[in-house]
């Protein structure tokens, strides 16, 4: 795919010396760059680099301390999100702003329903009778913009995450934006859904829209974007046409130091103990979910599990951890039959970092300390009645947060929702490390996390394997599995389709096995 946009395309949006501080701490230091019409401009940077602040300035949530934004040459100074929207700035957010209980059509027209008597004029006064036929028509038109063929009356909660993402874009396009911002649009999408989204982005580009694409997936960025802007510590550290950057350069700019590689070096022979199985799975079957799964995880081994979304990887992980039942087959942990339920598994030394960090990995409102100690409370208690000593707790948290290198600025009693994604994930890891697990199941351990924090999490995984734990890693990023694992299982349609030792790691072989035959 070669970029079709010429570098002479007109500038749609210009950031000119933008500055913003919070309580005297500068988050943006004179940021200047431009966004061309008919081009995809990727905005990358680690968490905390200033991307969100920049987008908040553009979207009218914040006002700059100095500098200005020019939209087609005119000063753009929105005081509210509604003003920014009217000026032609449209956002598609990472957390979708859609309502599961409403229909697709209602979601699409929520900011202005067509009314009886005036089918064209959408008003937002909230009064009047909705013109249902006009609503259908309007919704269908907007769905056509993104190539979604579904009944506008479908309740939104029935849609897949990919379809929802497209509905969100259709909603944004319905306002005829001049600039479309896509903030991490692919995090919850499967591979086919991603390529569909990218095709749509290319189409919108050819229609002359200016797109800003924010993503942590560097391969997506390098493949799909025309221009690249790299932010670090509130400043633009590099910008230019995408083809001028290699993946390595991009990372170096983002992190501000040269990462040896994306992955810490791995010498599996050092830790792997083929003779010590820690998790044995024999013919595990649950109708409609997984079929005849058999494998062995050894002490000191990092075993990867590849597959497309819906292949049954996360479902298998839940079965292995005792959260979901299996109809037949046998699971052994350290040679002993698995005890029922997550409690039984935890007693046998199994840990499980779930895919949905916010939903069932953390208590977002609870403190760092409470989240870290949750699993090991019974061990930390002194007596049979479960008496907890605050000093013991504090020291435990202190030790473990140092060993996972949690950001030093966070206080123990701070709610975890205030942390960045990377630090949140470190809290989840700390929670399981405290139990000294013999088997650790990691489902998407680095999802939505910036490059620097990823590296640190990989190091922690290595350390744990070196200490003798067996680790099962599920990931949708094939590069991650290739870089991290000693051995790979490929799942498709609930079955193991291939098993590859490190020597045979090839992206093509994995993909071939993962695709449903």
């Amino acid at each position: 795919m070669t970029p079709v946009a010429s570098s002479h395309a007109p500038v749609r949006l210009q950031f000119d010396g933008l500055q913003k501080s919070f309580f005297g701490v500068p988050v943006l230091r004179s940021v200047s760059f431009s966004v061309r019409a008919g081009a995809i401009t990727a905005l990358v940077g680690e968490n905390g680099a200033g991307k969100s602040t920049l987008m908040n300035l553009l979207g009218g949530n914040l006002t700059p301390d100095a500098g200005q934004i020019l939209l087609e040459g005119q000063p753009h100074r929105p005081r509210t999100p509604a003003e920014a929207q009217r000026a032609g700035i449209a956002f598609v957010h990472q957390e979708l702003n859609l309502f599961g209980n409403l229909s697709v059509a209602e979601n699409l027209c929520l900011d202005g329903f067509p009314l009886q008597g005036s089918p064209d004029a959408a008003t937002s006064s909230g009064l009047g009778w909705i013109n249902r036929p006009a609503l259908q028509l309007l919704a269908r038109n907007r769905l056509d913009l993104v190539g979604l063929k579904l009944d506008p009356n479908t309740p939104l909660h029935r849609l897949s995450s990919g379809e929802r993402q497209l509905v969100e874009i259709a909603k944004a396009l319905g306002r005829h934006p001049r600039v479309l911002i896509l903030d991490e649009p692919t995090t919850s999408l499967s591979a086919p859904e991603c390529s569909r989204l990218f095709a749509l982005m290319r189409e919108l580009r050819s229609e002359g829209l200016a797109l800003i694409f924010i993503s942590h997936s560097l391969s997506d960025v390098l493949r799909e974007a025309d221009d690249l802007v790299i932010l670090r510590d509130g400043a633009v550290v590099a910008q230019g046409p995408c083809r001028d950057f290699s993946s390595q350069q991009l990372i170096t700019h983002m992190v501000g130091r040269t990462l040896e590689q994306l992955f810490p070096p791995r010498d599996s022979k050092r830790s792997l103990r083929q003779d010590v199985p820690c998790l044995e799975v024999r013919n595990v079957t649950q109708p409609g979910i997984v079929r005849d799964i058999s494998f062995t995880l050894h002490s000191g081994e990092i075993l990867g599990m590849a597959g497309l979304m819906g292949a049954g990887r996360s479902e298998l992980a839940r079965i292995l951890f005792g959260l979901d039942p299996h109809a037949s087959g046998e699971i052994r942990i350290g040679g002993e039959l698995a005890r029922p339920g997550p409690r039984g598994r935890i007693q046998q030394g199994v840990g499980f970092l779930t895919e949905d960090r916010r939903g069932d990995g953390l208590s977002l409102e609870s403190s760092i300390a409470d989240n870290m100690t949750l699993v090991s409370l019974p061990q930390l208690a002194r007596t049979a009645i479960g008496w907890l000593d605050p000093t013991t707790l504090r020291q435990t948290v202190q030790t473990i947060r140092e060993s996972v290198r949690l950001t030093a600025t966070a206080r123990d009693e701070q709610p975890v929702k205030t942390l960045s994604g990377g630090n949140q994930q470190k809290v989840v890891l700390a929670k399981w490390l405290l139990t000294r697990p013999k088997v650790l199941i990691l489902d998407e351990p680095t999802r939505g996390i910036d490059v620097g924090a990823k590296y640190e999490i990989y190091q922690l995984i290595h350390q744990l394997a070196d200490q003798g734990a067996g680790i099962l890693v599920i990931s949708s990023e094939i590069e991650e599995l290739l870089g991290l694992c000693d051995r790979l299982l490929v799942l498709a349609k609930g079955q193991i389709r291939a098993e590859l030792p490190r020597a045979e790691f090839q992206q093509e072989r994995i993909l071939a096995a993962a695709l449903p035959a």
Partner: protein, 332 residues
Amino acid sequence: MSSAPSRPAAAAWVTPLRSWAGSDFFVLVLSAVYFLILTPLAPGFASTGNALSLITSLLPLLLLAVGQTWVLVSGGIDLSVTATIALTSVLGGLAVNEVSGWLGSGPFAIPGAILLMLAAGAGVGFLNGLAIARLRMPPFMVTLTSLMFFSGVAVWLTQSQPIGSLPPTFTAFGGRLGWALPVAALLTWVAHLGLSRTVLGRWLYAVGQNARTAEVSGVPVRTVTVCAYVVSGLLAAVASLFLTGQAETASPVLGQRMLLDVIAATVIGGVSLYGGQGRILGVLFGVLFIRLIDNSLNLLGLNFTLILMTKGAVILLAAWLDGWRRQLARMA
């Protein structure tokens, strides 16, 4: 625009204000202010006699609110407590009255009756908890229906007649401050420690915050839920013992109007209706505040309807102030 230069000046008063606004003592200060304003207006408000009567009326509410706190922290709600009071009061009265008591008048009659009341309270809580944890029914519906059901049982057991002729030793448990105060203080203290210093307490918060995360983290979610309702039922039984003692009769309509006071006291005391948040110390002050209002309005000689209206307004004002101070505490 000028936030950076003005920052040091602001920080000097903002930080102590924030830490005060975030603390449990806010409601205590509110109560003190209320007390100071009402003292010159209400005759006898500041007298020793009134203080004693205030404490007497405060203790049953305190026990109910403490039990409710356990349930609210676990992410539920217990509307059945007033029915538990009525049921246990009637059972205790039927067991121990001097005319036709089931347990006669032997040495074990009174301890037996108290045990029966506690067992019944725990039993109601256990049934509530079981329905909520095992059958996954919403706490609001389960406890609302058990409120109706057990109120009915209490009335049916007595044919809506109050039971008098209770032995003085039995009524002394709740009626005499010398007994009731230390018992209530001890139970509140134990409930506080249980919530703040034990594994079970941490689990209650975890379940109330995010039950799915708690389950993945190996918390026995269902057992913890049942525990919360059993504790609420048990404390309701003790509150019933107090109220029965104070009234010197067992009655199927005892404590009927206390439910809203319980909810108001816990919420003003800083317990979240959404679960996972709240501490006993705050609840203690919430109970004090509610009872201060009741007590002072009685002394002002207002009639019942006026008291209700004024109380509603004052609680609303307190809730508004509370929301305001939370916002203050959250400011980064």
